[in-house]
């Protein structure tokens, strides 16, 4: 089905524990900037229960209209069929979602249903000759592609941290309730169990300081040093995939291509080689400190300060020094 006469930017605002996920709010900010330059509107779509706070935040982050579909969903197919209906009715020329697992599950099919295409992990958007030019990382972020999509709606997922969230509590918006049912026939899978693994929730995307450890930390015991350093810095713990596979920390701490994309003010990498799959998750950090015993480790190519040395010796000293600074 082709959509004609399209206008406005629609943002699907995914929620977790009734709050909007960060990258959806970031998407709203960018959408608002673009829409206002084109005299268009930003339409946020929220699906779920008890979404008052999420509605307010969506408006404050840039939505002119919020469409609320008050329905408890736990299947991707349900979200997808609701969004299909909303898109058919409101005919946006652009549909954005955060580049989360759900966003990435929804968007390709939405695009396909409207005979359009889908840009993935968008990190920049420019309007050139009235065209949306989207920048997407390829080859683990070492190369960037600018792409255009020739049909409407242009569908995309926005990478976390690519745009900044602007919360303006004075913004006003219109709230619209839509009652959309999900046909049984579209539900092809059944969720038997949804398990949140115990262990603290880490919000790597919003952290200002991240201290990450890699295989070079050598053992679970030594990895405690990474946690201590994160503590004294007031930051959170990140890790590379090997550190996770060895179960030194839970998977939610993984930074990189198949983990979280982060952009803290300070990133300290301890015993991390700097493989592209890790780098692509953390090169957006403002200031990078790396500790590695191999002076040729690729992590040093991106580090503002690189310490060539044994992390097991260096990290405890750093902890002491930073404690002193923090005590001042």
């Amino acid at each position: 089905m082709k959509l004609t006469d399209t206008k406005n930017i629609m943002v699907y605002v995914e929620t977790a524990d009734k709050a909007p996920v960060n990258c959806a709010l970031e998407a709203l900010g960018k959408a608002s900037e673009i829409a206002s330059s084109r005299g268009e509107e930003v339409i946020a779509v929220l699906i779920g229960k008890d979404l008052e706070r999420a509605t307010d935040l969506s408006i404050q982050a840039g939505a002119d209209k919020v469409i609320i579909v008050d329905r408890d969903c736990n299947q991707v197919e349900a979200y997808r069929s609701i969004l299909l209906e909303v898109i058919k009715k409101y005919k946006p020329s652009v549909v954005m979602a955060g580049a989360t697992p759900l966003g990435k599950d929804l968007t390709p099919v939405l695009a396909m249903r409207f005979e359009s295409g889908c840009a993935v992990d968008v990190i920049d958007i420019k309007i050139t000759d009235d065209k949306f030019v989207m920048t997407c990382p390829v080859y683990g972020g070492t190369v960037l592609n600018d792409i255009v999509i020739k049909e409407s709606p242009i569908v995309m997922t926005i990478r976390s941290g690519a745009f900044s969230k602007v919360i303006d509590s004075s913004r006003k918006g219109e709230i619209i309730k839509e009652d959309i049912s999900v046909p049984e026939s579209t539900l092809l899978t059944k969720v038997l169990e949804a398990v949140k693994e115990i262990g603290e929730q880490v919000n790597l995307e919003e952290a200002e300081v991240i201290v990450s450890g890699g295989r070079g930390m050598g053992s679970k015991e030594n990895f405690e040093l990474v946690k201590k350093l994160a503590d004294v810095c007031g930051g959170v713990v990140g890790a590379t995939r090997p550190a996770i596979e060895d179960e030194w920390v839970p998977r939610s701490h993984q930074v990189g291509q198949s983990g979280k994309i982060v952009s803290p003010k300070l990133y300290i990498a301890c015993g991390i080689s700097g493989a592209t799959q890790h780098l692509s998750g953390m090169v957006g950090s403002e200031y990078i400190v790396a500790i590695n015993k191999d002076e040729d480790a690729p992590i040093f190519d991106v580090a503002d300060v690189g310490i060539v040395g044994d992390a097991i010796k260096v990290v405890p000293l750093l902890i002491e020094e930073i404690k002193k600074i923090k005590a001042m």
Partner: protein, 257 residues
């Protein structure tokens, strides 16, 4: 269990790919072509399933003659037969790939006289990381699809699938046939043995005709490199104490604390 595993040949992901400034394209010269990591996880998961419940694994890919080598590697680690959809395009968009795979699936089914119960894909390819193909194939065929799969069991006509989520996991049920896209499970793909390699080398890989290419809706208008971070100061001193002292000084100057 009749299993179809879709694989993509990609440049070795342990090599950093940069732009070739004279061609304006990613410089892939001298980079070995390998099976996409997530597809190797998919093949391993499929092989483990086959070992448990019986059946056969068909591996399919799209590309030029060189992809046959990757397919042979798959035959050495679990695949029973392999097909190549012959296409020389430099790259295809996910829509074309899914159309090609659907036609291939139908052609192979007609050829074998059997229907596939499960289609395995990797969750994404390490080159473009789009993660769309499995979803599009399933949607077009109106089949259930589960992404980020780390484990699968089958029982009669249905599959119990463990899906990794951001904060844990889901257990989902889907009726067969279904499509799964595989995330890194907590095991590594097996290595071929000399014997399995030899056996794989002897097998022929049949070619299939591609489907009609749909109109491309996505166009790459520019390829470029991100602004490189420049390496800062590298501290190499006799003692760790000296190194830390210098590092702290630089960090304080940069006002990171």
């Amino acid at each position: 269990m009749e299993i179809l595993v879709c694989i993509k040949q990609v440049p070795d992901d342990s090599v950093e790919i940069n732009l070739n400034s004279s061609t304006g394209k990613p410089n892939l010269e001298g980079v070995t072509q390998i099976v996409n990591a997530f597809d190797t996880y998919a093949l391993e998961m499929a092989t483990r399933l086959k070992e448990k419940v019986g059946g056969e694994i068909t591996v399919v890919s799209i590309g030029d003659e060189s992809v046959k080598n990757s397919l042979k590697n798959c035959l050495a680690v679990g695949g029973d037969r392999a097909f190549l959809v012959k296409d020389d395009s430099e790259s295809l968009d996910p829509k074309s790939v899914s159309k090609f795979l659907i036609k291939a699936k139908e052609d192979i089914e007609a050829n074998l006289g059997k229907k596939f119960d499960i289609i395995f894909c990797g969750k994404e390819a390490t080159d473009y990381a789009l993660g769309q193909v499995g979803l599009l194939v399933a949607d077009e065929l109106s089949l259930p699809v589960v992404t980020n799969v780390v484990d699968i069991e089958t029982e009669g006509e249905s599959a119990k699938i463990r899906q990794e989520t951001e904060d844990g996991y889901n257990i989902l049920e889907a009726s067969l046939p279904c499509v799964v896209t595989v995330q890194k499970p907590n095991y590594e793909p097996r290595y071929p043995t000399i014997k399995t390699k030899m056996a794989a080398r002897k097998k022929t890989i049949d070619e299939l005709q591609p489907a009609e290419k749909p109109e491309n809706t996505v166009e790459v208008v520019r390829v470029f490199e991100p602004v490189k971070r420049s390496a800062g100061v590298k501290i190499k001193t006799e003692t760790a104490e000296e190194a830390v002292e210098q590092a702290i000084k630089l960090m304080t100057e940069a006002k990171v604390f």
